[in-house]
């Protein structure tokens, strides 16, 4: 994405702190992933920008299709990066086979990207997002399929189980380390690391399947089982430390926004209400001191302003009746009136829409002000100061006002 021209233009050359942090995170995952393949510790890039060059190039290759890219085109999409950085990256990517030279015509040099490298980068990004949770899900699902595969040998099954056990062990260690660290870091990192019930269930199921088919692998299976339990325990410890931690809303961050949204949208009235079981609140008990009643009357509007602009209530007032069933019908009627008055426009002067007789005008004013007051209808009555005289009209004077559509 960073290669789109708009971004390049708007983006100053110096990356923001956020960019840097995200970049560091990518690199962290990248280094860990390829540590097993690196020749020495200096063999993995140490500048987030360098990953960005690769990603920018691969994106451009994907867009370019089978023609590939020329060297100039590659340089162009990477114009944000200094020439020497670009040259250096290109050399490495070529050397490792991520980008290949092709000669579609004699004397014409083009470049193509390798599919594998793109997949690799996707993998890196995914690992970064959820710390391997979904990768673990995939692996478990794959192993489950493998176990059912008649061609699978006990040796392969053992290797698979041992690999999983190792992953779970390391995962637990990382979680435990975090659990003993600062609460802030734990709160931030734990959701990527700890096991959901589902991962644990899947792992147990796989363990059972392996054991049923190859009872001779009981040793390996015991190891796997122990690793799974250790991981479950580490998850619980991390969660327990967080629930015990000081703070009365901070742990809400530990469920992703989407989980909250789903709950809000799908939960029944009873499920929602149950959250507040056991809580009591004060009844509304406003106080009206006798002297305040006196003041309210004495300071009250002595003469009536000629405009219906009382304070805006939150929700339409149904009056004495508790029946709110007609609110919809009211809103619909007001909407119809408002739209008739606006006639497709966004605003209209109030004086234009008032008829000549006072009864009709008053009803219209009442409707427009009700539409204004209705919290769900996107209309507004705006009055300006001063009064205008309408000769022959009714009322004969009026503050200049506009009835308008609000953005909503």
């Amino acid at each position: 994405m960073s290669s789109s021209p708009e971004n390049v233009i708007n983006d100053p050359a110096t990356p923001s702190l956020d960019d840097a942090l995200v970049g560091e995170a990518v690199l962290g995952v990248y280094r860990q992933m390829f540590a097993a393949l690196a020749r020495d510790s200096g063999a993995v890039v140490d500048d987030p920008d360098l990953v960005d060059v690769a990603e920018t190039l691969l994106t451009a290759f994907a867009d370019a299709g089978e023609d590939g890219l020329s060297r100039e085109q590659m340089r162009y999409v990477c114009r944000r990066h200094p020439a020497e950085v670009f040259e250096n990256r290109l050399r490495v990517l070529k050397g490792l086979g991520a980008i290949r030279e092709v000669f579609p015509k004699p004397n014409q040099l083009r470049y193509r990207a390798s599919f594998t490298s793109v997949v690799g980068l996707m993998f890196v990004r995914r690992m970064m997002l959820d710390g391997g949770q979904s990768e673990m899900h995939r692996l478990l699902a794959l192993e489950q399929l493998n176990v059912a595969d008649p061609r699978m040998t006990p040796g392969q099954a053992r290797d698979g189980a041992e690999g999983l056990a190792r992953a779970f062990r390391l995962w637990s260690v990382e979680l435990l380390t975090l659990t003993n660290g600062t609460i802030e870091e734990l709160r931030e990192q734990a959701p990527k690391l700890w096991g959901t019930e589902e991962i644990l269930l899947r792992a147990e199921r796989l363990h059972g399947a392996i054991l049923r088919r190859w009872p001779q692998l009981d040793r390996t299976c015991t190891e796997l089982r122990a690793a799974i339990y250790a991981y479950g325990d580490a998850s619980r410890r991390a969660a327990a430390r967080l629930t015990d931690s000081a703070g009365t809303t901070r742990n809400l961050t530990l469920l992703p926004p989407e989980t909250w949204r789903t709950f809000a949208r799908t939960a029944s009235r009873e499920d929602l209400a149950a959250v507040l079981d056991g809580f009591v609140f004060d009844a509304a008990a406003p106080w009206h001191e006798p002297s305040a009643v006196v003041t309210a009357v004495e300071d009250g509007p002595r003469t009536t302003p000629p405009r219906p602009a009382p304070p805006r209530p939150s929700v339409p007032d149904p009056g004495l009746s508790a029946d709110t069933g007609s609110d919809d019908a009211t809103a619909e009627r007001l909407r119809t009136v408002a739209e008739q008055v606006l006639r497709g426009g966004d605003r209209v002067a109030v004086e234009e829409v008032l008829g000549d007789d006072w009864v009709t005008a008053r009803r219209m004013l009442a409707d427009l002000s009700a539409a204004h007051l209705h919290p769900e209808l996107p209309y507004r009555l705006v009055w300006s100061d001063g009064m205008a005289v309408r000769e022959g009209g009714s009322p004969t004077w009026l503050s200049p006002g506009t009835f308008e559509r609000t953005a909503s």
Partner: protein, 215 residues
Amino acid sequence: MSELFEPLLRSYDEKRRSELVAAYMAVEHAAEPVPEVRFTALREPALRRTVEGMLGLTGRTLVRSGQNEWISGYRDDVAAELARDPACVPPAGDRAVLVLVLIHSVAIPRAAGLLGDDSWMSTYPTPLEELRRRSQLPIGELESALRRLRTAGLVSQVKAGTEEAGGFVPGPQFHRLTDAARRRLQEELILAAGPDSPLAAAIRARRRNQAGGNP
């Protein structure tokens, strides 16, 4: 007017006595936590203890907010006892709407890293439209519930400005929850929205332990 507070107030001179009464009335009726600089009886620990004693007579307690502001709320044991009485619990529809406001105005902004303070107050209004369109609650019920919640100070309405949409945020009554009540509210929300999360498991485990620890 009443003998209720007499045993606690009797020993104080007139000045102290009126300071105690002022502090008591303030924490019981203010919309927001009151700063102790304005009330001698909140500032001085010994007097504050008497205020706490006065509140205790009606099942209330002092709730500290920030470093030096105070308000009152129900004692946890009293709230638990009252909540068993159906007459004391708001109707299900009202509670459901209030929970939606807590989710949209506090849980989601917090999960998105937008809220700084560790509080149930929020500057992110829940749009009425969100409640209407994307919840299981009938519209008529929503509006009457919001009206009641607002009158009781359980939600506040944020008016739409020229730029931002209006909506509802948790109201001033949320200042009055004790620490334990706030924490429990957080837990109940997590248990309801993410029952399978490790966090929910930890909450359940801790509650089991506590229940087993003191039967």
